[in-house]
Assembly symmetry: C2
Homo-oligomer: 458 residues x 2
């Protein structure tokens, strides 16, 4: 088995992915607005040879009946939260080889401003930037803050297609390689013959002019995506280089993995080159008993209210208003994050869980996907088995305690993964795309971005 791809999943909020683990006495996640908090974490993740730091984001909030529930405010369930872009420069300055992936929405950010921001960051990091492309699943609350109606799910993907095409034109279609001479003697900074106007007239976006940022090391940042619907998978298969899958059961993940790779092949891309990553929470300790105690502590911070707030964040549905003894009503659908609803509607004939059972599962692990706990060798073996059984390439590690989870990961689990030869290798000076197995710094010719490249024949 080849080494796993391992990234660290973080967000600018005081809490984790579930419950109210900020309450743990040793959790410093509440320092998420301290600059040093990010400097320290980024350095540690780089020193451990992990592939990248992934900064999640959402303009959404848990909303019930048009307001953030008191329980979410009190328990800090996906609220408050802050802008991850602000810490990218901080993490970039603290490291020299670590990949940094940051989230941006095709619904709420202007494509031109967005491309300009990523291109600048790609320069400053020397090609270590990734873009987690989100179509804003948790968009109802965000749309209200942007003063807009909610864009329907499929329209969001149509917009995203147009958005990506414009982004490719800006990042690949304006500056030829070699356009910048910076020749002080001759007085030529850039060769006007190698700098081109972009003219995009799409169904949703248009732009005309020269892209103002000279070509960055990777041009297009490494593209991450996490679509789970049919349209989401289609989008991922066409554009994404790394896909974040929700880690449900082995058969479901194996099916999703094979489906995305085969859809990518249908687009003429190398399906095996796509890095498929599953969200993973680990609780690792020297003994099984200790790991179980830790896991129990972690769960002890969850209540029905925090579980319901988390579900509301992802779906807009208030579980506490439903009959606890019955399954999710057939006539209730998510305004967003439908996959988080579908997950509790089995299609294999098994009985649907009651709302009470759903609350209990959410209390145990929120909407985290895979949760593995035990000794380092047990967890390492389970990771290996899971990757082999599903055909995925690695994991996005979702912490529940900071620095606790990182201590477990770096001090206990990684040495075991190294012994097995499946830990990520040491960092070298290369772009994030190369680090993740890309053949070069730029997207390959089989990627749709390549169609917009200028001057490649020179």
């Amino acid at each position: 088995m080849k080494p796993l791809t391992l990234g660290v999943f973080e967000h600018l909020n005081p809490n984790g992915m579930s419950g109210a683990t900020w309450r743990h006495p040793d959790n410093v996640a509440t320092r998420y607005l301290d600059l040093d908090h990010w400097t320290r974490l980024a350095r540690r993740v780089e020193a451990a040879d992990l592939d990248f730091l992934f900064l999640a984001d959402s303009y959404g909030m848990p909303i019930v009946d048009g307001a953030v529930p008191d329980a979410a405010v009190r328990s800090a369930v996906h609220f408050p939260s802050a802008d991850p872009f602000a810490v990218v420069g901080v993490c970039a300055a603290a490291t020299s080889t670590l990949g940094i992936v940051v989230t941006s929405s095709t619904v709420f950010e202007e494509p031109y401003a967005n491309a300009r921001r990523y291109a600048t960051l790609d320069h400053l990091t020397r090609g270590r930037i990734g873009w987690n492309v989100v179509t804003s699943a948790s968009a109802a609350s965000a749309a209200a803050m942007f003063g807009r109606p909610l864009t329907p799910h499929d329209t969001r993907y149509d917009m995203a297609e147009d958005y990506m095409e414009l982004s490719y034109r800006l990042l690949e279609g304006s500056w030829e390689d070699g356009a910048v001479l910076a020749d002080k003697e001759a007085g030529v900074y850039a060769d006007p013959a190698r700098v081109h106007d972009v003219d995009h007239k799409g169904p949703y976006f248009s732009a005309r002019g020269v892209f103002p940022v000279e070509a960055s090391p990777q041009r297009v940042p490494v593209l991450f995506q996490a679509g789970s619907s049919g349209r989401g998978r289609e989008f991922a298969a066409r554009h994404a280089e790394c896909v974040f899958l929700q880690g449900t059961t082995v058969p479901r993940v194996a099916e999703a993995a094979a489906d995305i790779r085969s859809r990518a092949e249908a687009f003429g891309r190398d399906g095996d080159a796509i890095r498929l990553l599953v969200g993973l929470t680990i609780i690792v300790a020297p003994t099984t008993a200790e790991a179980e105690t830790r896991y129990a502590t972690f769960r002890s911070f969850s209540t029905d209210e925090t579980a319901a707030a988390q579900f509301a964040f992802n779906t807009g549905i208030d579980l506490l208003s439903l009959d606890p003894g019955a399954p999710l009503p057939a006539d209730i659908d998510a305004q967003q994050g439908q996959s988080n609803v579908d997950r509790f509607r089995p299609t294999d004939g098994s009985p649907a869980p009651t709302v009470r059972a759903i609350l209990d599962e959410l209390k145990a692990r929120g909407l985290r996907g895979l949760v593995l706990h035990g000794t380092p060798d047990v967890v390492a073996q389970q990771m290996q088995d899971y990757a082999e059984a599903t055909g995925i390439d690695g994991f996005l590690l979702e912490s529940y305690l900071n620095p606790g989870t990182y201590d477990e990961l770096i001090d206990l689990l990684l040495p075991e993964l190294r012994r097995r030869g499946i830990a990520p290798g040491p960092h070298r000076r290369q772009t994030l795309r190369e680090r993740l197995g890309g053949a070069g710094r730029h997207l390959p010719d089989s990627h749709p971005a390549a169609a917009h490249r200028v001057g490649a024949g020179r």
Copy 2:
């Protein structure tokens, strides 16, 4: 005379404010996309006790007949350029007390996303952030890139008023002071009774919901503005804490300074508390002859083409297409930056300069305002005289060589200003607002933002 306020004016482009000084053999400004370039500069500016680093920005480009002129590409006149937001985190991480002012447009950035970004940065820097509010004067080329029609000048100011009001609501009207308890024992992160919904329905913008970022040290970043039209001055007088004035003649600047202070008084604000700053280029050397040689070298990189490209950037007018022997035609008006045109249309009865004379002036100093050259004592005396004669509070220093200008500033000029007791004082741990003379971390009650503050009475 009280100490001057001194900030450093920088932008993410390889060139300076005029000509093609990137060609100077000692100029490292071409490294503007290197992270270390900004780390080094920010540290140096902080160590010299200057008040802040100001990161200018524009989505505009020099445009003639719908395209960036070849001369601008070749000579790097305001092109290429990159996103200054990307380096704010870098500069923040490199410093601990320096103010960092970054530009953002009320036309092109979403108010909600913008407020979230500044609030996050204000947290990370512990209250060292300023916002240079621009209404996007050089907006024609930018509008094309955003796929929008150009918004007329006065409409832009109407939009900006609405934008500011929404920003104040988000930053002052959602979180009360003391709302965040982060009480791990009691399990209360924030008190829901002290976190409020914002509901804004303006003529241009609307937003409904809770602002997701907890209250930052300054809440509203220190507000900078540079409006020079009547509407621009009105806007500045109502909102700005620091106003960047174009440094033309002493009488013009004195008039503008008095006018802005008196307009501010009419709004019930303390006019004298507004920091009025003039853009200043210095060429300082141990002897007059050396300073003159340096100044000549600096001008030697200017050509008619670079001068015309600079003017096109600010006005959209191509001087090279006009009769060089005649003044600016009466029927030609700027699509933007009208003040840069008006400057060459005297109102005091003196003859209007010819296009040839305008090109020559632009070659000498671009659209820089005040240019002072000479020995440290001469330049210091001129700065002091200028500040006294105009009633301004300080200067924004526009470099022409990096590190050359900073060497002159820090090694030669600042010691002389210190001897005269008019250099900025040593940095202390305080917010940028306090550093600039504010009575506290937050905007005073006389500022329009204060009307939207919640829970101040508790």
